[in-house]
Amino acid sequence: MAAVRADEILVPRGRPRGTARLSVWLDRERILGPVFVTPALLLLLLLVAYPFVMAVYFSLSNAFIGRPSEFIGIRNFVQLWDSDAFRQTFQNAFVFTGIAVVFKVVLGIVLALLLNEQLWFKRMIRGAVLLPWVIPTALSTLGWWWMFNSLYSVVNWTGIALGVMDPPGPNWLGQRYYAMAAVITVNIWRGLPFFALCILAALVAIPKELYEAAEADGAGANSRFWHITLPLLKPVLAVVVLFSTIFTFSDFNIVYVLTRGGPINSTHLFATLSRVLGIDTGRIGEGAAVSLYLFPLLVFVVWAQLRFVRKQAY
């Protein structure tokens, strides 16, 4: 208030006074714009940009919990590269993301095509399909943990009952390849709705006339899919794949709850290893270096999105 009053004295007669003057001043786009974005800007500078700079600094230091840190250059990155646990994590991240994203794309297209047809209980089916995406991941993963339990696994019970598994069936979370298959399955389960519904939104937007014209020209269902549907889906597929790649690559919840990175680091991802190093063992510098391995991928995806997808917007 004090500032406004001091101003008031300087206001020539005949011009709006006090709060009225403030609102005239705020009415200018050059003023109102910055005022409106300031809260968001401050928040992002203090709690995103600043921590990010700190993460870079930590990664270049020997920061250890409760001890002053020294600058050590890129030693953390080099040491990590020499450690088996990290190399394993690096490989896991690509295997995990690659397989999960491919499955999500293919199953997502199939599911979207099915949902795009006339269905009974359409709303209920859509609702059911989206459900895994909405429920808190940490909690739903607990359900999967129980389903993969070594003694009481319902997955194995069903597999044995159907005759597709030999008793006792695999120990899902205790053997390396099976554990990876398990975390990938849960990731697909959780991420599929996002793919299916984004692709569905794109399918709905394809003009019906295109299909009618193609049908009149004698194109079968297969060739209509390959020559009309798929090319028109490409832009949306590109965006969805880029989006999902980042979030699959940086996944934490599923691995943390299901396997904690085990057995013997065979399912660790960057985020889970970073937590083990940075929080559980207090080696903040190394932990930060691990999570920064996510950064080049982030830069690439942001670049690709801005370059190809949002060219018109910004």
């Binding site: 009415d27 599911l111 909405v134 940490a138 739903s140």
Partner: protein, 281 residues
């Protein structure tokens, strides 16, 4: 052609093709619910059929969860954190989105890009340094740390979502109001926001869902059992050493999801539209 002439048969085939997807999506929830209702002696009987309840179902696991653990405290914490973070984020996001969608000012496009970039920054990249920031602020092991940090991913999300909605409101509506003597803020408050209510509902729902689901910040910034949220409580406090109380765990997972499921049932269409709006619009 024979199939095409019989639309009912085709329709049935389609539903059959959807069946595996529905089973895949829903079975884990079914199995969780089942487990939470089974008596322990059936639950731990390796010869029992795990797909159905044979013996009388029981609510014992639920009552144990509620009365013998601090589940209610965790739920209260989740609600408090989620409510505050959502309110703050939608408010901050709304004004920022309006400015980015409508106003011309210095730095507007840079800031727009900045919002988009932070929208893509995964929380797992920042949890380590943020833990230090939280400690410096004296908020270590406090739910207030979550109220402070959740907006870092909620604000970019809300801003991005609402920018799209504000762009769909015709400029003329606002200009008319301003010609009639309203200031820009009045036009925003009285004209634009009421039109954008579906977008605001969507932003609130998603902010609520995202913060209710958040896990790594909650796990890292809080640890005392009176400060943690439901997700963290159920995942870490219900396991004592090597003994897992599966009935209680599943009951906790079910109950911890209830607030989201309630919103979901009432606002399904908003969820569907918001899911795609964030990514592909």
């Amino acid at each position: 052609m024979a199939v095409a002439k019989r639309p009912l048969l085709r329709k049935t085939m389609r539903h059959l093709a959807l069946l595996p997807f529905l089973v895949f999506a829903l079975f884990p929830f079914y199995h969780m619910a089942l487990t939470s209702l089974k008596q322990d002696k059936e639950l731990y009987d390796r010869h029992a059929v795990p797909l159905i309840i044979r013996q009388a179902p029981t609510l014992e696991h639920y009552s144990k969860l509620i009365w013998e653990t601090e589940f209610l405290t965790w739920t209260k914490n989740s609600l408090l954190v989620t409510a505050l973070a959502t309110t703050a984020s939608v408010a901050i996001g709304t004004v920022a989105a309006y400015a980015l969608a409508r106003l011309k000012f210095f730095g507007v496009s840079t800031f727009g890009t900045g919002i988009f970039v932070t929208y893509l920054v995964p929380t797992t990249l920042l949890f380590l340094p943020l833990a230090q920031v939280v400690n410096w602020l004296g908020l270590g092991d406090s739910k207030w740390a979550l109220v402070l940090t959740y907006p870092t991913f909620l604000v970019p999300f809300c801003t991005w979502l609402l920018m799209g909605y504000f762009r769909t409101v015709p400029k003329e509506v606002e200009e008319c109001a301003m010609v009639d003597g309203a200031t820009r803020i009045q036009a925003l408050w009285r004209i634009v926001l009421p039109i954008a209510v579906p977008g605001l509902v969507c932003a609130v729902l998603f902010a609520f869902t995202l913060s209710w689901n958040e896990f790594i910040y909650a796990l890292t910034f809080t640890s005392s059992s009176d400060q943690i949220t439901a997700s963290v409580g159920v995942t870490s406090e219900l396991i004592r050493g090597d003994i897992y109380f599966w009935g209680e765990l599943m009951a906790g997972a079910i109950l911890g999801s209830v607030p989201i499921v309630i919103l979901y049932v009432f606002f399904l269409d908003y969820y569907v539209s918001g899911l795609t709006a964030g990514a592909i619009k």
